[in-house]
Structures are given as C-alpha cells and as structure tokens.
C-alpha cells in the first residue's frame, strides 16, 4: 500500500491551470453573454447581442476564408512534410538532416516571414531580378493576397509537421515494406497500404501542430495578407484593441474555439478508426 501522493504532486499544476486557464476561459464565456459597455468594458447585464452580431455577413465571410486558408495550408504542409520526413528517416545521415530541420524550427517565425517579404515584396529581390532581366517593366505585387497567406503559413509551420512525422516514421519497421513487396505489392502500394496506416499517429500530431496555429493566426495575414485574407484572429484583435467590443471578441473567440475543436475532433475521429483497428490487431497478435 502506498500513500496517495498524486494529489500532492499535481497540486501546483491544478491550481495554476485552474486560475490561469480555466477561469479566464470561463470569463470569456461569461462576457460573451454580457452587454457591451460604452467605455469599452462590459455591463453586468445579460445579452445575446454578441451572438447576434456573429451573423454579420462580413464575419461569416471571414470565418469561411479562415477555414479555407487553414485547410489549404495544412494540406500543403502534409503533402510536403510526409515525403520529406520519409526521406530523412531512411537516410544514413538522419542526425544531420534532423539538425537541418531543427534550425528553421527554432528560428523565430517572424524573421522567417520577414525573409520572404524581402524576396517577394514590391521592391524585393524577385522584382529586382525580373526588372533587370527585362521580363517585366513594372514592379509586380506578389504579396498581400490569400495565396501568399496560405503559402507563408505553410512555410512557417512546415517544421512543426516534419519533426513529429520523422519521429514516427523512424520507428517504423521498414522490413514490413520489403515483406509487402515480397508478397507482390508495388512500391507505391506498399507505402500507401503499409506505411501510411502505421504512421497515422504521426500524421495526426503533424496536422494538429499545424492546423491549430494556422486557424488562430494573427501575424501572417497582418504582414503578408490583403483585404481578401483577413482571418478570425485579426477580427478578434480588432474588436479587443480597437473597437473594444469585448462581448463580441469573446463570442468570436468561442466560435473559433468551437471551430478548431470540431476540426480537431473530426480529424481525430477520422484517423482514430484506422489506428484503433491497427492497435487491436497488434494486441491480438501479442
């Protein structure tokens, strides 16, 4: 019989996470049902005005464009990250390649975005080159549209997907692929039917690590986006800092929370059934 030290060990965590996470979230939940104060706070009066305001066509449009940007960026990231991680995991120089990914991972993302602005900006390197080569006679605006937001997002969060994918693929027993080929599968088939289901947990992590920061992003659309690429994060910030409509900021925040939670759940549910079956098969085998 051991005494139960669990509560002692977790007490600081319990207190911290309650005071600085659960309570603040509860407060915005509460604020979203309160009336806006003229001075930029809230009045202690029940109101669903903040939820009515959500049906503003502008907010709905931004919500859809946020979802679009997040899904596209995540798809591009997974599309690039999977083969990259696979190559790394099969390489003889794993450690060195790992380092090559870790460096941009640890480099401040604003600096990395800034570098792309220096390249793609109206007076950037690409325009300079095009002008010098005579391929264009005026500066082209590459930045400040929805696609630059998507691409810069993908670029920013790509390392976040490669690292967990690499970790999972590295643990994969590659002799399974040879076994599959031995049994007559083509290389592509072996990868799709054997490797992919086995590295599903890694893909899940990769998607979560990228989708969540993208959907709640503020800085990327602010720096490289245009009027067509405003995201929910920008609206929330605007309502908080500029118009000081806190109930509305709260209700939009909750919508964002719900959106991202649904996205996460849906994705986990989709991949779960596969990984669960796999786990069951493994347990049976043992």
């Amino acid at each position: 019989m051991k005494k139960n030290y669990g509560q002692i060990y977790t007490a600081p965590l319990l207190i911290w996470i309650t005071v600085f996470f659960v309570v603040p979230i509860a407060i915005i939940l509460m604020f979203s049902f309160l009336k806006k104060d003229v001075h930029g706070g809230v009045e202690l009066k029940f109101s669903i005005a903040a939820y009515k305001a959500l049906f503003n066509p502008y907010i709905i449009k931004v919500a859809f464009s946020t979802i679009f940007i997040s899904i596209m960026a995540t798809l591009i990231i997974v599309f690039l990250a999977l083969p990259t991680a696979y190559y790394m995991a099969r390489s003889k120089f794993k450690d060195f390649l790992m380092l090559l990914i870790i460096i941009p991972f640890w480099t401040n993302f604003l600096i990395r975005i800034y570098a792309w602005i220096a390249i793609l900006g109206n007076n950037g390197i690409l325009n300079n080159i095009l002008l010098k080569l005579g391929l264009t006679d005026h500066n082209i605006q590459f930045l400040y549209n929805q696609w630059t937001v998507i691409i810069v997002m993908a670029y920013t969060y790509l390392p976040f997907a490669i690292l967990p994918l690499f970790s999972t693929i590295e643990k994969f027993d590659f002799s399974l692929l040879e076994a599959a080929r031995d049994l007559g599968a083509t290389k592509t088939k072996a990868i799709l039917k054997i490797l992919l289901p086995n590295v599903m947990p890694g893909i899940t992590t990769a998607v979560l690590f990228t989708f969540i920061p993208v959907i709640g992003n503020y800085a990327v659309p602010q720096l490289v986006g245009g009027s067509d690429s405003i995201m929910i994060g920008n609206i929330i910030t605007h309502e908080i800092m500029k118009t000081r409509n806190w109930p509305l900021a709260s209700s939009i925040s909750l919508v964002l929370t719900v959106l991202s939670t649904i996205g996460v759940m849906l994705f986990m549910y989709m991949t779960r059934s596969k990984t669960d079956n796999l786990r069951k098969v493994r347990e049976d085998a043992v």
Partner: protein, 265 residues
Amino acid sequence: MRKHNPKAFKRNTVSLYFFIVTMVIFYLPLIILIVLSFNATKGISWDGFSLRWYNELFFKSSKLWTAFGNTMLIALLAATISTVIGTLGGIGLYWFKFRMKKYIEIASYLPLILPEIIIGISLLIFFSGIKFKLGLITILIAHITFCLPYVLFIVMARLAEFDYSIIEAAHDLGARERDTLLKIIIPVALPGVASGFLMAFTLSLDDFLITFFVSGKGSSTLPLEIYNMIRFGVSPVVNALSVILIVGSLALGLLSKKFYKYMFS
C-alpha cells in the same frame, strides 16, 4: 533462401526531390538575409561588404536590447517554473490515481488544442477584470500557462518508458517518498525534464501572439520589437538581428537535438 534486394527501398528519388524542395524553401530566405546583413547600403542590390548594420544593431538599438533582456529573463523564469510544476504534475498524473485527475488531464490537454489567441485574449480579459497591471509579470504568467502542457506531456512521454516497478523497487528497498522522488524519479525523468525545459524556453523566447495581448507599456519583448520593425518597413538592422538569431537557433538546435525525441512523441 531468396535474397531481398536491400536497395529496393533505398532509392528514394521522389522523396529526395521533396526533401530538396523543403530545404530550398527553408534555407534560401535565410541565406539571403545573411548576405543582405553585410550589404553596405539599404537596398536589395549588392553594394559591397560592410558591418554597418551590425554596428547599428549593437550600439544604436538600446530598445532592442532592453526587449532582448526582457525576453531572456521571461524565458528563463517561465521555463524554470513551468518545468517544476509540469514535472511534478507529470509524475502525479502518470503514476497515481486520485480524485480530480480527469479534470487536471483535460484542463492540461486543452491549451494544446486551442489556438494561442484564445489563451492570449482570455488572459488579457482576466487581467483587466482583476485590474492587474499589464507588464512583465503578466507576460511571465501567460508564458508559464502555455508552456505547462508541453512540459507535462514531454515528461510523461519519458516516464512512459519506465515501468512502475522501479518505483515499487525503491519503496521495497526502504525508500520513503521523498527519497524515491529525488533519487529515482527525477534522475530517471531527467532527459524528459531537460527536453521539457528546453521546449518551454524556446516557446517562450519565440512567442509573439500571446505576448502581444498581455504586454503593457514598457514591457516589450524581442518578438514584439521584430514585429513592429517588420510592419514599419524593411530595415537592414532586422537582417543583422536575424543573423544573430539564426546563429542562436543553430546553437539551440545543436543542443536540443539530443532531446528532440521526447518533444514530438
């Protein structure tokens, strides 16, 4: 016996192309920044080698250095505090059953799947609600809050590698709970704890969005300063600063390679 061709899966031509594309995307901009940081003029075209921007960075940018000091101080404190709380919490959650366990688990998981902006906003509203002045303290609190879940799960991933028997063995051999914690659990969890610390440190160093909400007047951090510099046009000082930060990342990268295993499991 039939021989397998061991090279059958080694020729990863397609994935190699992808890898190269990724590397170009990652490094081309960084290399350009490095080159431009030594450019003699403000422009994009090369006008000769100069350390002008470094000079400006090191001697004429006191605001940046104050922000840098704040950033380091907050990162160190946030990483230390969240590592202590997270490690103890991880041990408790991993090896014990008790009331409220489910609540702690869910409340600790949630920040990982919520967009950062939610944490930033809720803390901003919370601090204004209790009339707590925004500044370095509020930034520190916010950083600890979002670092905690990472530390917690990194430590737990490490603990998952050991079976509970070693704890029982320690008890069996006469250790009290305090001995077990200090002489067995902490040393065994140390690589995980170190990974957690490093993760928290870098998350805090890099954080822009949450800091953006909970910082007050005169409590700027480096990412906030960088953001402002970028917004108000391309300044070559940013190039120089970037190079310094890239070198710093390289050092951190080398250091953390040892611990990455627990960060992404």
